[in-house]
């Protein structure tokens, strides 16, 4: 199948910042692809270059085979772009905004009005379409911001952190929209610094940090990078030196550490191992006061790869 996006050796430097420093990835047609990384990783800069806002210092991006450098108008016509910062006319209504942007994407006449109606329905703002954007809540603005990118039914939708700073309800609405659009066949490039979003939405995830892709693959593939072990954190009601010794011998437990009050275990499959751990504790008359199980996730992967937390 043809790749929706192919990014090759992309570099973009600001005066003294190497914002994007040699990035390669490709997105298969029909998938949701997440670019995950902390603030300042270079996600927005990558998006800006591959949507043709400004040219790269090196490399190129192909959108369904069209080079953004050589055939910018062809490439741009295939994309719908949701910028990170809300870019709307506050003094116009939602409908007026949609109609204007629809025209810039070549829609007109009945087709334009029809698409505007459909998008208003999709983003759930039909009732308030005549109200000026300045009267909208942050979440509603975000939804209009997204709606604009969908008007011309693009084969590829690029969303740059579309859920930043909004209420949980609007956020859920947006995530559901993304999944729904993808079901209808749209390819989605989604950037975020929320690992839960990347995990829920995407088939492929690229983890970005300091202008580079540090890891790229399916969720399962990424998790394998840190080993597929669960991390179990618990506290005992009394000193349990003997208990810890017994736990180390249990099959499937690879590590037992005392970290202050906390005891940390790395286990292959917490479901299989926990009953045995409880049994041993009981035999030693030790009570488990609290317990938390952490399955490996992208957070752990990021920590493992960069030595720092995803969120600041």
């Amino acid at each position: 199948m043809e790749n929706a996006v192919e990014v090759k050796g992309l570099k973009k430097f600001y005066k003294d910042v190497k914002a994007v420093n040699g990035v390669d990835f490709s997105i298969q047609s029909g998938e949701i692809f997440s670019l995950l990384g902390p603030n300042g990783a270079g996600k927005t800069t990558t998006i800006n270059v591959l949507t043709g806002l400004f040219p790269p210092n090196a490399g190129d991006a192909l959108i369904f085979g069209h080079s953004i450098k050589k055939e910018p108008l062809k490439a741009k016509a295939l994309m719908g772009v949701v910028p990170q910062e809300i870019a709307l006319y506050e003094d116009l209504s939602a409908r007026e905004n949609l109609v204007f942007w629809g025209k810039l994407y070549g829609l007109r006449g009945k087709q334009l009005q029809k698409r505007v109606d459909e998008v208003l329905e999709l983003i759930g703002l039909r009732d308030r379409q005549r109200q000026r954007i300045s009267k909208y809540s942050g979440g509603m603005k975000r939804r209009v911001n997204i709606g604009i990118a969908l008007l011309h039914l693009p084969k590829l939708v690029i969303m740059d952190e579309p859920t930043v700073g909004i209420d949980p309800q609007s956020r859920r609405h947006i995530l559901d929209n993304v999944l729904q659009l993808n079901k209808q066949g749209m390819t989605v490039l989604y950037t975020t610094h929320y690992m839960e979003e990347a995990q829920e939405l995407s088939s492929h995830i690229a983890i970005m940090d300091q202008g580079r892709i540090v890891a790229n693959g399916t969720h399962a593939e990424l998790v394998k990078l840190v080993g597929e072990q669960d991390r179990v954190e618990l506290a005992l009601s009394q000193d349990g030196g003997k208990v810890l010794k017994e736990w180390k011998k249990v099959k499937g437990v690879s590590k037992v550490d005392q970290e202050g009050e906390k005891i940390v275990l790395l286990v292959n499959d917490s479901n299989a191992v926990l009953p045995e751990l409880f049994k041993i504790a009981n035999q030693q008359n030790a009570r488990i006061a609290s317990i938390a199980i952490h399955e490996p996730n992208l957070e752990t992967v990021f920590l493992h790869l960069t030595g720092k937390a995803l969120r600041d």
């Binding site: 800006n48 806002l53 741009k76 772009v81 809300i86 006319y89 204007f100 810039l104 007109r108 604009i148």
Partner: protein, 419 residues
């Protein structure tokens, strides 16, 4: 092209919706013109003597076949020259007129006697026009008296000429027949009406400030000059203000959003430029119409007016775009609105337009600003200058506009193409 228009019309819609446009672009020039011209001696009408209600009883009964000169008096009183001053109501008889004065419907009544036409065109006898007025009224009867006196003068001298002519005719053995009197009456009628149109002498007497009729024209000229200057100043101001939307959109991200749509940079800039031009066109058209209706300004021949409007729009738009293309962001625009527009406007003579004989160096500085040339062009227009006389300032303004647009376009293209 469709996208260019979409951008321009969206900008126009946004302009018109903004309080700024209504306040600064439309209300400010009108209000300032009004205030300035009030300082120069006020509006056209003086309320003290405006619109007196006058009753007219025309009892005139001319000889068969002769026109009714009482009707002529009525027409004169209702002519354009007097219509701002008095409103004449023809009433059936004297009683009705007196009743109207008692009821304060009329402030005075003029009674034309039955033998009026006969006396004016015939010979010998005399007659009298009578004015009846409400004693409580101090000014109106006096005004009416003056007007009627002037009209009566006209008829009296006509009558004198007729008497003379008839005598002369008889001395030569001729006879004044019906045709002769008909001709006389026609001439008197025509003459009276002419006098009425040239009523400046009547108004002279009545003006409370004791100004001559000519002053009315002068005031009108001053208002026109001030209005033109204010319009030029605020058109340039609005030109810069609407051009600022390029910087605002750059900061708000809507410009970037246009750039990632399949629209060439060239079309986006063309749309923005066109938006400025259209907004200024709307502004000027509203100002021209309103100032014509409110201040009675005659802006001149349509063809010349269109040329002056076009030159003003393109030079103001070009100047605004040029200024904005020199700035980094909207935080720097304060200096444009607070400083550059005011200083260039001042150098352009927009605040001193009616002062003659400026020092020589001021004349030179004026020629360096587009506002100065616009001011010259519009003054020529108001003075009824010929196309030939308007050609030079027109050409200079258009030339400046082309240069402004060229530089602005170059700078914006470069700014948005690289980045």
């Amino acid at each position: 092209m469709r996208k260019v228009l979409a951008i321009a019309s969206k900008d126009l819609l946004r302009s018109i919706r903004s309080l700024y446009f209504v306040g600064i672009s439309l209300l400010a020039p009108l209000l300032l013109s009004f205030l300035f011209s009030a300082a120069f001696g006020g509006g056209k009408e003086s309320t003290a003597i405006s619109n007196m209600e006058i009753a007219l009883v025309n009892q005139d009964a001319p000889a068969q076949g002769n026109p009714n000169l009482g009707e002529t008096v009525l027409e004169v009183l209702r002519s354009d020259g007097l219509k701002d001053l008095i409103t004449v109501h023809a009433v059936g008889n004297e009683e009705e007129a007196l009743q109207g004065i008692n009821d304060q419907d009329y402030s005075a009544a003029l009674i034309i006697p039955p033998d009026f036409s006969q006396v004016v065109t015939g010979s010998g006898k005399t007659t009298q026009l009578r004015i009846v007025y409400d004693p409580a009224e101090s000014i109106s009867p006096h005004v009416l008296e003056n007007i009627v006196a002037a009209i009566a003068d006209g008829f009296s001298s006509s009558k004198m000429m007729v008497d003379l002519a008839v005598e002369e005719l008889q001395r030569r053995g001729g006879q004044a027949d019906e045709q002769f009197y008909t001709q006389v009456v026609e001439r008197i009628t025509a003459q009276s009406e002419n006098r009425a149109y040239a009523t400046s002498s009547l108004l002279t007497v009545l003006n409370p400030q004791g100004q001559k009729g000519e002053t009315e024209n002068e005031i009108q000229q001053i208002i026109s000059t001030i209005m033109a200057s204010m319009m030029i100043f605020f058109t340039f101001y609005t030109g810069a203000a609407t051009s600022e939307s390029l910087l605002q959109e750059e900061e708000k991200g809507t410009l970037a959003r246009k750039f990632v749509s399949p629209t060439p940079v060239r079309d986006i800039l063309a749309g923005k430029f066109l938006g400025v031009l259209i907004t200024l066109t709307v502004q000027i058209c509203v100002l021209l119409v309103v100032s014509h209706l409110v201040f009675h300004i005659e802006w001149g021949e349509p063809g010349k007016l269109v040329l002056a409007v076009v030159a003003l729009i393109v030079s103001a738009a070009g100047f605004g775009l040029l200024l904005m293309s020199l700035l980094r962001d909207t935080r720097q625009t304060g200096i444009i609105f607070g400083g550059v527009m005011t200083i260039t406007g001042m150098l352009g003579g927009l605040f001193t337009g009616s002062i003659q004989n400026m020092p020589g160096f001021m004349e030179v500085l004026k020629k360096l600003t587009p506002q100065g040339w616009a001011q010259d062009l519009w003054q020529l227009l108001l003075n009824g200058a010929s196309y030939r006389e308007m050609l030079f300032p027109l050409a200079v303004l258009l030339g400046m506009a082309v240069i402004f647009f060229f530089i602005a376009d170059f700078r914006f293209q470069r700014r948005f193409a690289r980045k």
